[in-house]
Subunit: 308 residues, 4 copies
Amino acid sequence: MPFPVPLTGVVPPLCTPLTPDREVDVPSLLRLVDHLVAGGVHGLFVLGTTSEAAFLTDRQRRLVVETTVAHVGGQLPVLAGAIDMTTPRVLDQVASVTGAGADAVVVISPFYTRTHPAEIARHYRLVAAASPVPVLAYDLPAAVHTKLPADVVVELAADGVLAGLKDSSGDLAGFREVVAGTRARPGFSVLTGSELIVDAALALGAHGAVPGLGNVDPHGYVRLDRLCRTGEAELARAEQERLCALFGIVRAGDPARMGAGSAAIGAFKAALHLQGVIACPATAEPQVPLSPQEVERVQELLIEAGLL
Amino acid sequence: MPFPVPLTGVVPPLCTPLTPDREVDVPSLLRLVDHLVAGGVHGLFVLGTTSEAAFLTDRQRRLVVETTVAHVGGQLPVLAGAIDMTTPRVLDQVASVTGAGADAVVVISPFYTRTHPAEIARHYRLVAAASPVPVLAYDLPAAVHTKLPADVVVELAADGVLAGLKDSSGDLAGFREVVAGTRARPGFSVLTGSELIVDAALALGAHGAVPGLGNVDPHGYVRLDRLCRTGEAELARAEQERLCALFGIVRAGDPARMGAGSAAIGAFKAALHLQGVIACPATAEPQVPLSPQEVERVQELLIEAGLL
Amino acid sequence: MPFPVPLTGVVPPLCTPLTPDREVDVPSLLRLVDHLVAGGVHGLFVLGTTSEAAFLTDRQRRLVVETTVAHVGGQLPVLAGAIDMTTPRVLDQVASVTGAGADAVVVISPFYTRTHPAEIARHYRLVAAASPVPVLAYDLPAAVHTKLPADVVVELAADGVLAGLKDSSGDLAGFREVVAGTRARPGFSVLTGSELIVDAALALGAHGAVPGLGNVDPHGYVRLDRLCRTGEAELARAEQERLCALFGIVRAGDPARMGAGSAAIGAFKAALHLQGVIACPATAEPQVPLSPQEVERVQELLIEAGLL
Amino acid sequence: MPFPVPLTGVVPPLCTPLTPDREVDVPSLLRLVDHLVAGGVHGLFVLGTTSEAAFLTDRQRRLVVETTVAHVGGQLPVLAGAIDMTTPRVLDQVASVTGAGADAVVVISPFYTRTHPAEIARHYRLVAAASPVPVLAYDLPAAVHTKLPADVVVELAADGVLAGLKDSSGDLAGFREVVAGTRARPGFSVLTGSELIVDAALALGAHGAVPGLGNVDPHGYVRLDRLCRTGEAELARAEQERLCALFGIVRAGDPARMGAGSAAIGAFKAALHLQGVIACPATAEPQVPLSPQEVERVQELLIEAGLL
């Protein structure tokens, strides 16, 4: 489908359901897509960080995109991450996911290598020049260990290089700078990946949100988005706070035993499993699985949030 | 060839010569291999960080390994990096580079994802279980933003999971802990990637060095290695200090204009180009090239070091 | 005066005017206090980071508190930073600033030493036990290099240890966690130090703001605070965006020549000097002063903001 | 006494013994000084990081210097830390510790504030201009969160501003750069604070060491220093490795319960207490004390090292 200009609303980054032997669980992926579509979301983002893109092989990545695109059938835009270290490898990923049908690609700054704003800007220009679909920048300092500077984004937006930004930096002041700096380009989408402050991001002018927790409660985020757009600030705040409490599931996993990624993705998948959406809560290697007690804590929070 | 147990001596991480349009320059790669073999090195490491592995496509990576292995013809062990974000993707890289003939693989801790020592250990166990050749761990916190803990390495060495360590952390105290902790396993190789303190690393028990600057002056590092082994401490120190001065080439590139990676790899390639080893000093996208003035500074330092 | 429970509104962290030979410029300090009081602010915070507390000697610190307290004469609460590395030294600072008349103290987590949440909590408990006035916690990871965990703040609030939080972490999600977690304690004040997202902080339940830029435009922040409280979201956003543009003054100083602290404090003082509030824009040693061209840039932005 | 030019040998950073109610325990401090002098050390460093200078009040700091200087009576040089955030506050500390008799001051880069190499250089120039005794720079990025750049040190040495460097950065390559860069100034002392690689530091040209563990085993470090100077490399390495094993005491404290500072200083003081040197192992607030089981682990390692 033609990519919306601008893209607005709730665009969850899909978890990638896996079988117990860590293959993509296609039936579960289809059920997850249905779950999100039924929840009223406005787009789907596959192969993001929440999707365990960093753990999926190239073959698995293609399968995820093909499966999702075919199932959605153009009802919603499908964005795909093209996560790799530098320009030449990202270009291969772009070719692969657009070949598989993605409507837009989401591209992160160079990582592993020590980089520089001039190199980041060049990276996006080269990727955009070669991409057959719109390119959104992805700011995730927790993964790449550089902040995507607001002025670089604004410049690339002004030059028509980027179609949007997915900002998971947690830096709302920098986010606001991009919002203000790109207001003159109405097609440019500024999306927040900070699922705990979606109300604040929309209030200051964001176009939408890419909440990992949206896998677990798509209705909640769609409701929040609607309340923000209709100006019902008090109700929006209450809905956001309910979602913040639900987000406590990512703290179920013991940080003495596992990394923060294992805990977060493990919790999302445990929740989807408890909700009956996916068949198996397995996360990719070498992540550490939640213990039964930790899953129980996830269950408690789902019940408190009215989801079980 | 069978992988030496332990691997000792100088094992430079080969630069990957590129053509002006950023394809692997095979004739230059062959000349670089010859240059290093003639310099007396004890092994070759391809697809490391200095090799711009983070910038090479999978196709280019395979070509580099195949070319090098075929040309070396078993005279020297060829180690290959299997640089990717997590276990499943690393396993694909391991299959690719060992299919292309690598004698050992060099594997880094998970990156992009937020990890944990337990996950790092599991990562190496899974990779080693699947690898047809010995696995060396690669500690490079500047790239992956976690330090590979010494106790994890020691445990994996004791369990026969790892065949060695390439330590580019700059943390000599942690390095020493690995040296002392693995002394009971005589086949385990502890190699330093810190080209400025090779004498110190060998003095405290390292088996060898993986110096990026060894591309530019393999004779120098081979001489240094020999002086250290024969206990000529004063001469070794003088040789090391000469190499430290030469290393100043990595500061030729202006940090206001480029990242530290661009400056370092750009300098190594400029030097190899000035020495007539490679045909073109191009670095991969989106790195920033050295200016003519910066190349001149590289030239001056080569002259001071007696290399031009 | 009795400390307000809770403290609400705009509480700017006062710059400390200095003479050309770096003594406290008392007449300028009095004019600055008058400027802020005339602007309608709700409290004064002296000896914060913006006050160059890290640069003032103990004698100068006392003089600042005494001067301010005497001049304000109980019209407004005067909060004073008790900035030092650890508990015993902070206790000396608390004694000094409360002896000089401060109505509350603002205390940061231990720094210089490598700390732990248990130590941070113990630090606040010991300080509060010894302080004759209410204690507010100060979260400024850019200075102390640890984040004050939200759960620690919530626990200390519940136990009556802390009277409030000044959060300059930039982490709005963590800030929200404190707001939600302390709602059951109506006397606890949650204040944001993030001058660029005051509207967002107030919208999610903050009691007030501690904006460094409030030195330069107290009327603007007071207006913003009022618009937020009366629910005029659009006007509030416009006012906040005007202040964000004005904040551009902190980028006047060239980062190649000076640290970010020199640039920020230098800009605030240059602005106050251009506005005729303080007699001399000098910052404390060893900070780098703005150049005449950089001051001109500050002037342009003041004019654009309607302040000159 | 006149400060040695250059200062060489072992200069331990003295722990500061405290009473159970956290006052300076003067009799224990005198016994500690005797213990170190009897161990053959070449100088004493008080009010360093290991001395808990960050936790001592100004009154306590003066008492430590006065007590030590009076007791040593000019037999050995006494260096004192002047630990504070910025130039004006450091100048007050310099006045205080030199008034109390220190033979040299050890000064760290600005901290708490966000700084810049130009500001660091200016800081040292101003401090040295005002100090009645020689100034050594102190590089401790773990505390101040900036690395003191080697080129800044070399420039300040060349200009006669600094009398030496105490490097606790762990970066041996940078340390070597200072050694090489200051060789032309024979009075300049380059001292390592990295107690685990003293042999390596001396081998590449360091003048001496400032080992925290030297409180616990001064004889060991003095022996190591002598073996290095007489070129007995194998024996030196064995002695250093014995000390590295002893250093395991700093891991006795559980990192889930306490910060790394609490664990390290707690272990040093527990060891001194077990050796009968100090009367009480208390550390300053808000540090977490070692548990009885953790103290037992310290005891085991002391026995293994032949110290009990």
